[in-house]
């Protein structure tokens, strides 16, 4: 599905006739592509290179300096900035805990919903609703109020006789509150899982039942392998998104990444350096480290993916 669909457009033939046709349509092709090309060059590629250049300078938006300083920003980041390492830790912890839990919730509910009957569409839509609104400032404000000392969550705990905490203001629990907000939005990966589950042939389950495989066995030996491309797709997408989280962390912590930096996501630190301190060069260096880290992580995910992702069409070759 979506993963395998991301291949290039059909290759044009290499015969002389096809090549002539390609050149004849060439001008029209570039006319239609021109907004994209202009955008790619002007707003993506050149600014990226410019930011790479900036990261080797000491440029500050309000300052007078604009000198080449070599690797100094990078050296400062790695050896002289405990906040940077702290942000890295918070972000990695957030992504590595919230993403697997979110995917587990998504898969679990998808399997519960994977029966065609009346009302399934509405249920699916309702579970999806948090994904649609969860990234907004409004929901982050609600979340903050819910997990405050006087919030709804503590009143729920009080019903069970458990004494609550000011969760968002407790350094030990603020990040968990943030994770919960991310997990709450499990609807988007759930919808993708549902589409994947529909592709699993029911004969496999029936044959397995005849052979005496129980529900766990069927899940472990049929559902998981058949679904592994979709799991992989969701894992890559959600991990990359998880690393970039900004809005919820910003609103939940009043823009500080607090309490005591416990929710200082990487993007928050980057924002702070760039737009509060106006240290554009330093922030550029942070952005490039981030880009390389994300790139490395993606490569890592894809290379480990080889070990467990099972593509049905590769089988029996």
């Amino acid at each position: 599905m979506a993963v395998s669909a991301a291949v290039g457009p059909g290759r044009a033939g290499s015969t002389g006739k096809a090549r002539r046709a390609r050149w004849r349509e060439g001008p029209a092709g570039y006319v239609f592509l021109s907004p994209f090309l202009l955008g790619f060059m002007g707003i993506t590629a050149i600014p990226m290179l410019y930011s790479l250049y900036l990261s080797f300078t000491n440029y500050e938006l309000l300052g007078q300096t604009y000198d080449w300083v070599g690797l100094r920003n990078y050296r400062d980041l790695f050896t002289n900035d405990p906040q940077f390492w702290h942000a890295v830790q918070v972000t990695v912890l957030f992504a590595f805990v919230a993403v697997p839990l979110k995917l587990a919730a998504a898969l679990g509910v998808a399997m519960l919903l994977n029966r065609e009957r009346r009302g399934t569409g509405v249920l699916r839509g309702l579970f999806y609703l948090p994904s649609l609104i969860g990234g907004s400032v409004a929901v982050a404000i609600i979340w903050r109020a819910m997990f405050d000392r006087t919030g709804a969550f503590n009143s729920l705990l009080a019903v069970f006789g458990v004494e609550g905490k000011p969760w968002v203001n407790d350094p030990d629990w603020a990040l968990e509150t943030l994770m919960l907000l991310a997990i709450w939005q499990f609807g988007a990966p759930m919808v993708i899982f549902l589409a994947g589950l529909k592709q699993v042939p029911t004969e496999l389950y029936e044959a397995a039942a005849v052979d005496g495989a129980g529900p766990w066995r069927r899940f472990r030996n049929i559902t998981l392998p058949m679904l592994s491309p979709v799991i992989f797709f969701n894992l890559v997408l959600e991990t990359i998104n998880g690393f970039q989280g900004f809005t919820s962390a910003f609103v939940l912590s009043d823009g500080t990444g607090g309490p005591t930096d416990s929710t200082l996501m990487y993007s928050l630190r980057l924002y702070d350096q760039a737009f509060t301190e106006y240290k554009m060069a330093y922030a550029s260096a942070m952005a490039w480290v981030f880009l390389l880290a994300i790139g490395l992580l993606t490569v890592l995910l894809f290379s480990t993916g080889r070990l467990w992702v099972h593509y049905a069409d590769e089988e029996g070759a």
Binding site: A21, G29, F40, L126, V137, V139, S155, E203, A312
Partner: protein
């Protein structure tokens, strides 16, 4: 280990005429009957579990609406779902809570930016998608690969240099940095969605139009544009919702209160002691999500389909 049935490859969908029922198939049919009976019992349990999870998932949203109708003295004492006293005054109170500017201003600003983004995305991405899906030109494969690569590019890398660029143009505190990039097909998600969609439009229609004397431009105008309406609608809905909810870029580029959008305005409300006015703040939060919710109700099916074709995030 788990039986030979597990290791046999999945049967192809259309496999000739059905063979005679073997012992094995009778066993399968028997198992099917037995499982159907067990399934009836299980489906009730399943439904109860689903509804319980749904209640937990929807609670924050319902609590938000409930709290937005609570009287000021009730907010801290009654943390439940239902207000004891229905207090709609939170809405006008929140609307005018900030000095010098009302939430109406934020709504107008958000709407202008969101609608401009919808139009810009629909136009620029459709045009690019047509080139990728239908036209043959040199380096097409390379540009397509680059477009896909930008899907994975974290926006953080572009935040600083784009700010420097737009600052140079004098565009800070105007909506231009939020709209102009969309005119240049920078939302690769939508290009990809439309390419996928156009591959499903029969090429015979292009050929027929070509025989009738249509150029590449004519085919775009008379064939692709009218037939791409479903993809355009999906793009429009997602563009609207994403822009409506977007915070980071609006926070960065809009510095004057008169240009604030809803997310930035809400954030300012929270910052300026809104913690003490939970009711009015929640009322504005509810209002801010209302357009998204209406879109959701009207286009639920399309939204879910949109995620399925491209895997894009909600």
């Amino acid at each position: 280990m788990a039986g030979q049935a597990l290791s046999s490859p999945p049967a192809p969908a259309e496999a000739g005429p059905p063979p005679r029922r073997t012992v094995r198939e009778q066993a399968i049919a028997h198992a099917r009957r037995r499982r159907r009976r067990a399934a009836a019992v299980r489906s009730v349990v399943r439904l109860v579990v689903i509804l319980a999870i749904l209640a937990v998932v929807l609670y924050p949203a319902l609590w938000m609406v409930g709290t937005s109708f609570k009287a000021p003295d009730e907010v801290n004492s009654n943390r439940g779902l239902i207000p004891e006293q229905f207090w709609p005054a939170n809405y006008p109170d929140g609307w005018t809570a900030l000095p010098s500017v009302t939430f109406g201003r934020f709504f107008v600003n958000s709407a202008v930016i969101a609608l401009a983004t919808v139009v810009a995305n629909c136009f620029s991405c459709l045009v690019a998608a047509y080139a990728f899906a239908r036209l043959r030109f040199p380096l097409r494969g390379m540009w397509f690969a680059i477009m896909i690569a930008t899907l994975l590019l974290p926006s953080h890398v572009l935040l600083v240099p784009q700010y420097v660029l737009f600052n140079y143009f004098g565009w800070i505190n105007t909506p231009l940095p939020l709209i102009v990039p969309k005119l240049l097909a920078t939302e690769a998600f939508f290009i990809f969605l439309m390419v996928q969609f156009m591959r499903g439009i029969p090429r015979e229609l292009d050929e027929a139009a070509k025989i009738d004397g249509c150029s590449a431009y004519g085919i775009f105008w008379h064939v692709i544009l009218p037939l791409s309406r479903p993809a355009l609608v999906t793009t429009a809905i997602f563009s609207f919702i994403w822009t409506w909810n977007d915070f980071l870029t609006q926070l960065v580029y809009l510095s004057g209160v008169e240009n604030y959008t809803i997310p930035v305005g809400l954030r300012m409300f929270q910052d300026s002691g809104g913690e003490n006015q939970i009711g009015p703040m929640f009322a504005m939060a509810v209002l801010s999500l209302l357009p998204v919710f209406l879109f959701f109700v009207a286009f639920q099916r399309l939204l879910v389909q949109g995620i399925n074709t491209t895997g894009l995030k909600g």
